[in-house]
């Protein structure tokens, strides 16, 4: 894992003032503190911050092919590099190193831009092809690894984090009101948008090409108009009728066995590394499965890492210990409280580069710190199982609402919702019906599943100077336009899975709760459930045995039942959460509130309304989910404005590479 960055001159002649590589690479040195490398030719500069995991001796980057005509800067892993290397050598390619990076270069030579379709992994990379005078940018299928681009004064800037682009002198993008409108609707910005004006992300599952003479239609803003994008992968599902069909016991056993085989392969291939690999253990089904697979199918002596909470409402320590004891791992825990969450919250926002609606990333920042302090650079986690195998309540909720919609007058059908959300038993049933009944019968709406969540999140926009209803609606239209062929023919649960994977998973879970918190302490996360071969297979399993009645991840549980203690297998899913507004009623939290939630006429966040929210918070009356989201959003939003605005240079100053830290690479042709 690493950080990448670069600059390409759109007119083909790059003048790169001194010190720019040191700024762009240095500001994201947390992503790869082991080595810093750079390379350039007349038109392109490539930068790299390395976290050494595979081929420690010769895997330095940027790296080139035999004649120096193709150069790469690469962040991530291509796990099937050993098989690909053999295939490429059989075709006559000569590989000098034992790194996956070099395999990508030769795969590009052999298969062109379509090389990405052969990679099993998590990656973002840039390839400079000097013969064809072009730049290829690529991002993995689920968006595990980030990649941002911006156009600035005739230059294309790119990097693993927005701060790398922001470090280019004179490029100081403001927070984007349209981005805030999207975050207060979907929780995330919808690709290609980010939280900053003029900064775009390469959407997951896409490649982007920069050429002197671009052909085909220009991409939508804020993507630079000279780029040409192509989508090479998206999640797929069965047509609704097949998805609903009954599966007999024999077929279920066969599907469960194949699932198991593919899952084992996905986990084992993710243990390829030249450094020790550990695992996160939350105490839930998914991470317990991952850890158990490593234990059963390898001779790997496993170390596991967990986060616990002093507040028992959030704590799952007992389950974590139960699982660790079951498979005999060496287990360590870090316990966090509100003070700890508040104390690291500003750094969490600096790493996330977006407003966040929950504090839940903060404990994961503490967890990666624990792994790092135990000298681990790589961990496997259970991330992705809920999306791929239908584990979330939002899928069950959509199923209940669609069932209810078939007979809206049957009032008891809505009562099924309290089976999903036991806390709703405290809510008046009439109101429950009214809330979840919004848009009830519009089951053809592509976002049927997400309407209640999005409607509630939209309430947070009241804190903005401009709620941005038009921008939120435009983003929805963009999502609709990007839906794949066949989407309309999928069932309720499949559509919900697709929407969840392409919004919340990519934009929040894999980013603010994933890559950013892990890389904040130079730790790489690997996610067996997000192996695309497994996800493609899961897409062919009928929804009727993924979400069986209202039992979530039923076929997964069937496939791994023998690996787990029965109580872990059967326990109801506990969503991972952390104390939100309550965390800031602590010394560290009060300091942040005083520093960031006061009057600020230049802010996109409305001072008067924030004042009312803070008064409610001080009175201890922030009860609802929405109030907690609003408080966390406003605080993180204000921190983002300052630390990426007037405060940026101060943060950058301590991070710029010192003389001698950066190594310039050269090859045969350069």
């Amino acid at each position: 894992m690493c950080g990448i960055c670069g600059v390409a001159a759109l007119d083909g002649t790059l003048s790169l003032p001194d010190g720019i590589p040191e700024r762009m690479i240095g500001v994201m040195r947390h992503r790869g503190p082991d080595e810093f490398g750079a390379w350039r030719d007349d038109a392109v500069f490539l930068g790299h911050a390395r976290l050494s995991i595979i081929d420690l001796e010769t895997g330095q980057q940027p790296l080139c092919n035999e004649d120096g005509s193709v150069w790469i800067t690469f962040n991530g892993e291509v796990f099937n590099y050993i098989e690909l290397a053999a295939e490429l050598e059989a075709k006559g390619h000569v590989l000098r190193t034992r790194s996956d990076t070099e395999v990508i270069v030769h795969a590009y030579e052999e298969w062109g831009d379509a090389c990405v379709e052969r990679f099993v992994g998590q990656f973002a990379f840039a390839i400079r092809d000097r013969r064809r005078n072009r730049l290829l940018l690529a991002r993995d299928r689920f968006g595990i690894r980030p990649l941002y681009v911006a156009e600035h004064r005739g230059l294309l800037l790119f990097g693993s984090e927005i701060k790398a682009l922001r470090a280019y002198p004179g490029f100081a993008p403001a927070v984007d009101p349209a981005g805030l409108a999207e975050v207060t609707h979907f929780w995330v910005t919808v690709p290609p948008r980010t939280a900053f004006v003029g900064v775009a992300q390469i959407p997951p599952g896409h490649v982007a090409v920069l050429e002197a003479d671009p052909r085909g239609p220009a991409p939508e803003a804020p993507l630079p108009s000279r780029l040409r994008l192509r989508r090479y992968w998206h999640p797929t599902f069965l047509p609704a009728a097949e998805d609903r069909r009954r599966v007999d016991a024999q077929e279920k056993a066969r599907i469960g066995a194949e699932l198991r085989e593919r899952l084992v392969d996905a986990a084992v291939i993710r243990l390829r590394a030249d450094v020790p690999v550990g695992a996160y253990l939350s105490g839930g089904l998914d991470s317990s499965t991952t850890a158990a697979l490593i234990h059963h199918y390898t001779s790997h002596r496993l170390k596991t890492f967990s986060v616990g909470f002093t507040d028992p409402a959030f704590d799952e320590t007992a389950w974590q210990h139960r699982m660790a004891a079951h498979i005999g791992t060496e287990h360590v825990t870090v316990t966090v409280d509100g003070q700890d969450i508040a104390a690291r919250f500003r750094d969490v926002v600096w790493l996330s580069e977006t407003p966040i609606l929950r504090t839940a990333p903060a404990p994961l920042h503490a967890l990666s710190g624990l792994a790092r302090s135990e000298h681990f650079k790589v961990v496997l986690t259970g991330e992705g199982a809920d999306e791929v195998f239908a584990g979330y309540n939002i899928f069950r909720e959509a199923k209940v609402r669609a069932f209810w919609a078939r007979r809206p007058g049957e009032r008891r059908r809505a009562g099924l919702l309290t089976r999903l959300y036991p806390y709703l038993k405290q809510s008046p049933p009439e109101f429950l019906r009214q809330f979840y009944g919004q848009g009830l019968e519009d089951t053809a709406d592509p976002f049927y599943s997400h309407r209640p969540r999005w409607a509630n999140t939209r309430g947070v926009a009241a804190l903005l100077q401009d709620p941005g209803d038009a921008a939120a609606a435009a983003a929805e239209a963009r999502l609709v336009a990007g839906l794949p062929d066949g989407f309309a023919g999928w069932g309720t649960v499949a559509r919900a899975q697709y929407v969840e994977m392409t919004t919340f998973l990519a934009g929040y879970l894999l980013s603010s709760q994933g890559d950013r918190m892990l890389m904040g302490h130079s730790v790489e996360g690997r996610f067996p459930f997000l192996d695309h071969r497994l996800a493609d297979f899961a897409g062919t399993i009928p929804a009727s045995i993924k979400l069986e009645s209202l039992t979530e991840k039923a076929i997964l549980k069937h496939g791994v039942a023998d690996l787990l203690p029965p109580d872990i297998l059967q326990r109801p899913k506990q969503p991972y959460r952390a104390p939100d507004a309550a965390s800031f009623a602590t010394p560290a939290g009060r300091e942040l509130v005083a520093a960031f939630l006061g009057d600020d006429p230049d802010s996109l966040w409305h001072s008067g309304r924030i004042g009312a929210l803070v008064r409610k918070w001080e009175a201890g009356r922030l009860a609802s989910v929405r109030d907690n989201m609003a408080f966390t959003a406003a605080l993180s939003g204000r921190i983002l404005e300052r630390d990426f605005g007037s405060g940026f240079d101060d943060r950058l100053a301590g991070l710029v590479l010192a003389p001698g830290e950066l190594a310039w690479r050269s090859g045969p042709g350069n």
Partner: protein
């Protein structure tokens, strides 16, 4: 302050963070308008009990009593008269 003004002021301060605009008129649904969620209903009930000294029974937790400023004012009036 009239009951209507007290209720409006509470909703604006507590659920709209001081912004009166979304509360277009006294008959609009607080739930459909996205002003409160189902937890917000409980906050609202706690406010009524504290501010107006009324006791709200479970069977009274229905939109006809609680889901607009007008319904709330009517409900408070009926409770206080009882």
């Amino acid at each position: 302050m009239s009951a209507r003004d007290t209720v409006r002021a509470y909703i604006i301060e507590n659920f709209l963070f001081g912004d009166a605009e979304p509360l277009a008129d006294d008959t609009m649904s607080l739930l459909d308008g996205g002003i409160i969620d189902s937890v917000g209903v409980m906050e609202l009930v706690a406010f009524l009990e504290q501010e107006f000294g009324v006791k709200v029974a479970d069977e009274e937790l229905v939109p006809e009593n609680l889901d607009s400023v007008a319904n709330l004012v009517g409900f408070i009036g009926r409770k206080q008269a009882a």
